[in-house]
Symmetry: C2
Subunit: 140 residues, 2 copies
């Protein structure tokens, strides 16, 4: 069901999008999520054809969880949803860039984005604070 205020597409555009993507041998494509206005790279996850179609149909980002082997509607447990702003495919068709509006935090650690480990002269440093504790994100 389309989400009010999100970018959604009709069946014809969705079919063209899915056809344009070169899914790998496991039927997956890497998808980069970027906050549309700040440019912050939030996370990278995987999509299959069904999750691409659902994302474009609903305007809410849906990935494919390789560990759970099922559709992963981002934020379905944590509430930290991603609304679709723009859906891009790269030159080779084998990577997707999702420009999104992230509600709250993208990372399961409670940080805004997942790329908080930075190489420094003395090794690997954590450069971002936890904004919402995981206990709060994943209440029983």
């Amino acid at each position: 069901m389309p989400v009010k205020g999100k970018k959604t597409f009709n069946d014809s555009a969705i079919e063209q999008a899915v056809t344009s993507i070169l899914f790998d041998a496991e039927g997956l494509v890497p998808a980069i999520a970027q906050q549309h206005d700040s440019g912050e790279v939030l996370m990278m996850a995987w999509m299959n054809a069904d999750s691409v179609a659902e994302t474009l149909r609903s305007g809410r980002v849906c990935y494919y969880s390789r560990s759970r082997q099922t559709l992963w509607r981002k934020g379905e447990k944590s509430g930290q949803t991603q609304s679709l702003v723009d859906f891009r495919i790269d030159c080779d068709g084998d990577t997707v860039l999702l420009q999104v509006d992230q509600l709250g935090v993208a990372c399961h650690t409670g940080r805004r984005n997942c790329f908080f480990n930075a190489i420094r002269d003395d090794g690997v440093a954590i450069i971002a604070d936890v904004e919402i504790y995981p206990d709060e994100l994943y209440k029983p």
Copy 2:
């Protein structure tokens, strides 16, 4: 050999970086390249342990070419190099974010970035112009 003005690291930091990355069954990790100041996502490619080490040692981005099965020093043929500004690893250790300074264009089509196919209501649209023609980039 370190490149003047690029961010480079010593052997100890490089070893910690390589150890922190969870390479896949083929020894590869996806690497997103982002222009460090504008936030533009330029491309996604793959790295193996050797290319991670060379990138951190030289300050110039080196990927692994899956098609050619060899190290791919970005810009070695086209001259469109990427200087390393920051090297980040995600929460799970299975994706890398390279913040870089891209010289010229990142895409082999001659566009600034690879994500120029955008889904629109009537299908897939090309939203970026060619800035340098491939004939100029890849002279015999």
